[in-house]
């Protein structure tokens, strides 16, 4: 019998019960809660007269709807201008109070995007099962956790039972060996992987990212990579625990300390795939081969290296692919054969649960330092992932670098990644965005998203068009 994968181990550790029909009851260590996908779950508990199974397993924070504009934000929940958004954030506060769940409220320094806050506070740890009513929960797999997004019914289910009914996924290994080129980041790796396997390539699989390039990545980079595994169709992405993981976790507010730390580390050291583990599918990419990536279409798989040209549907044999390409080109207002570097963004967005951590902001700041955003750019937003990221960036003077470059320095939140607050694209506008989805209308009705790394977004802001950040 072959050894176990990391996913096998995490699954086995949380197995409460196996059923004859192949489904299993899996114990959930941590549920992260935000305002958008939880109100109906709390309402469900109320209607059924149920209580949360284990209150201390949950942590809530508002992020999707919160204003990022400094003045609007200052007044807290009551000052949210959009009454529908305000009600949703207020409802989270009310529900957490009614059900006695710890919430990091809107203007707490620790507030931020739930997938930035969890690891930052040590609320998500190696070896945990982590769920949240948000598909980017895969982010937390970077810590060596089994983490995935769920719908609202399962938010209610996890609240009420501390378990979920699951069917085991297949195992996929994505190995990135070799070294990444200078200027090439985890975001480019994620997009390159999606370009390779497509947005459904990981459907039915739990992806483990491994190989030298992943081992050499910081935790921030690994989080970016795992964050986007859902864009490859995989609900969960993960990376084995190593010294980088442990150094990151140590000293976090909710992480164990003292003897308990030693005990935890001893357990966490086993959180890697065995040498003889067998994966159902393996994909290998060479780090050196990956160039900075830019999406040109309306699905993350519609992606090219920055030196590429927009594809021509005329030559495509697959009918469904040709139709999708034609529709994407029309929506994006691009023509076949056009160079990626000729695409001119109207707005730039640096932020989101994919790329709003301190390392992302440093990379962007390094590019814009001493330079200025091009005149053709209507707006360049920098939205830190949390209050703590914001504070750290300000200690390092990054806020000044951005402001001097003509960019806007905002309060933490999901912001223009999905435009549930006031930050959005106008119809037809192109955006160089460090977020995760370039779907039609995602960043605003009629908006046109190009997914890139923070350094690539920053360079596009200065140049007024996409440029190869390797030449910067």
């Amino acid at each position: 019998m072959g050894g176990k994968t990391l996913y096998d181990k995490l699954w086995q550790n949380h197995l409460v019960d196996e059923r004859d029909d192949g489904s299993a009851l899996i114990y959930i260590d941590r549920q992260l809660i935000h305002e958008v996908t939880s109100p109906q779950a709390f309402e469900g508990l109320r209607l059924a007269g149920r209580e949360p199974w284990r209150r201390d397993a949950n942590l809530a924070v508002p992020d999707h709807n919160v204003p990022t504009e400094v003045r609007e934000r200052r007044g807290g929940v009551a000052a949210i201008a959009d009454p529908v958004s305000r009600l949703q954030v207020q409802t989270l506060d009310d529900n957490c109070r009614d059900f006695d769940i710890v919430e990091i409220e809107i203007n707490d320094t620790r507030q931020g995007i739930v997938h930035v806050v969890g690891p930052e506070q040590g609320a998500t740890l190696p070896g945990m099962t982590v769920v949240c009513g948000d598909s980017h929960t895969s982010t937390h797999g970077a810590l060596g956790a089994l983490a995935h997004g769920i719908g609202t019914s399962e938010v209610e289910h996890a609240l009420a039972t501390q378990c979920l009914v699951q069917v085991k996924m297949k195992n996929m290994l994505v190995r990135i060996d070799g070294e990444l080129q200078k200027g090439v980041t985890a975001k480019d790796v994620a997009l390159a992987v999606i370009g390779e396997i497509g947005t459904a390539g990981g459907t039915g699989y739990a992806i483990e990212f491994g190989g030298e390039a992943v081992r050499n990545m910081s935790m921030e980079g690994r989080m970016t990579l795992c964050n986007m595994s859902i864009e490859a169709g995989a609900r969960m992405g993960m990376v084995a625990v190593d010294d980088t993981t442990l150094e990151y976790v140590k000293g976090r507010p909710y992480a164990p300390a003292g003897d308990m730390w030693e005990q935890a580390v001893a357990a966490w050291r086993d959180l890697h795939s065995d040498d003889d583990a067998v994966f159902d599918r393996e994909l290998e990419l060479r780090g050196e081969d990956i160039k900075p990536q830019v999406t040109w279409g309306t699905s993350p798989e519609m992606v090219l290296p920055v030196d590429g040209v927009v594809p021509d549907p005329a030559g495509m044999e697959n009918e469904s692919r040709r139709a999708a390409t034609e529709r994407a080109l029309e929506y994006m207002g691009l023509s076949a054969g056009m160079s990626i570097t000729d695409i001119r963004p109207d707005r730039v967005f640096i932020g989101s649960c994919t790329n709003s951590r301190i390392e992302d902001l440093r990379a962007a700041a390094e590019v814009v330092k001493g330079r200025h955003v091009a005149d053709s750019i209507k707006q360049a937003l920098v939205v830190p992932g949390s209050g703590e990221v914001k504070q750290q960036a300000e200690v390092e003077g990054l806020d000044k670098v951005f402001i001097d470059a003509g960019m806007e320095w905002r309060e933490p939140g999901c912001s223009m990644c999905l435009a549930m607050n006031a930050d959005k694209l106008g119809p037809g506008e192109h955006c160089a965005s460090t977020s995760n989805r370039n779907f039609e209308g995602r960043q605003g009705f009629g908006g046109r998203t190009h997914l890139v790394s923070p350094a690539m977004a920053a360079a596009a802001a200065v140049a007024g068009h996409f440029v190869d950040v390797r030449d910067w």
């Binding site: 945990m128 719908g151 039972t161 996924m169 459904a200 469904s320 549930m420 039609e440």
Partner: protein
């Protein structure tokens, strides 16, 4: 949850691959704190010519007449024919809520995104996977004949076409059981409360750092 046994209904097309949940229900409607009322905003950006807002009366909005769901022949449809990777992207359960609220109880496609697929079963919506070629054939037959109806029998796991041909589909036994009986699976899980407690106490001993920290 509504039970699902046998459904006979009109089929309607969503003829493109990789339909994401942002397209099924755009984000501005996710601000609702309710579970119902999403039907008028299903496929909002395709159905209407203007940008929809929550709480708006959709009856007065300009319709996109080129969008098939607005064709008179597809009014009252309860089965949606779709393409590969339907429901990809965000985990929003508002997507199956919108489909169900509009009147779709069944989707037939070659493949689905995992989270969306799972969410459907929680809401009395049956997502059926059929071979891509067969789905192609169903699309053609539907386009060729107005009023094209399908029968879906969950107990027998078959889709029956108007000519009486039966096409079997796979469905996980537990999900089938819950859907057939309209069961609330929280109640079912709570029947295992003793097993959950036993696991929890063992896990607490092994990993005490996971307990009583956030309070």
């Amino acid at each position: 949850m509504k039970s699902f046994t046998v459904l006979q209904g009109l089929a309607a097309p969503m003829d493109r691959a990789n339909v994401d949940t942002d397209l099924i229900i755009p984000k501005q409607f996710l601000k609702s704190i309710k579970r119902s009322g999403f039907g008028p905003n299903l496929f909002d950006e395709l159905r209407y010519l203007d940008e929809g807002q929550p709480g708006q009366d959709c009856g007065t909005r300009p319709l996109n007449r080129d969008f098939p769901l607005n064709y008179p022949r597809y009014q009252g449809a309860s089965i949606l024919l779709a393409r590969e990777n339907f429901g990809c992207g965000s985990s929003r359960e508002h997507a199956p809520w919108a489909l169900e609220d509009y009147g779709f109880r069944c989707i037939i496609a070659p493949s689905y995104a995992d989270i969306f697929y799972n969410n459907c079963f929680k809401n009395g919506v049956l997502p059926i996977v059929l071979d891509a070629q067969l789905v192609d054939t169903l699309f053609e037959a539907m386009y060729a004949s107005e009023g094209y109806q399908l029968t879906v029998d969950l107990e027998r796991q078959v889709v029956v076409t108007p000519d009486g041909k039966e096409h079997t589909f796979e469905v996980d036994a537990f999900r089938k059981h819950c859907l057939l009986n309209g069961l609330d699976d929280i109640g079912l899980t709570l029947e295992s409360a003793d097993a959950i407690r036993a696991y929890e106490s063992k896990w607490r001993q092994q990993s005490p750092w996971l307990f009583d920290v956030i309070k």
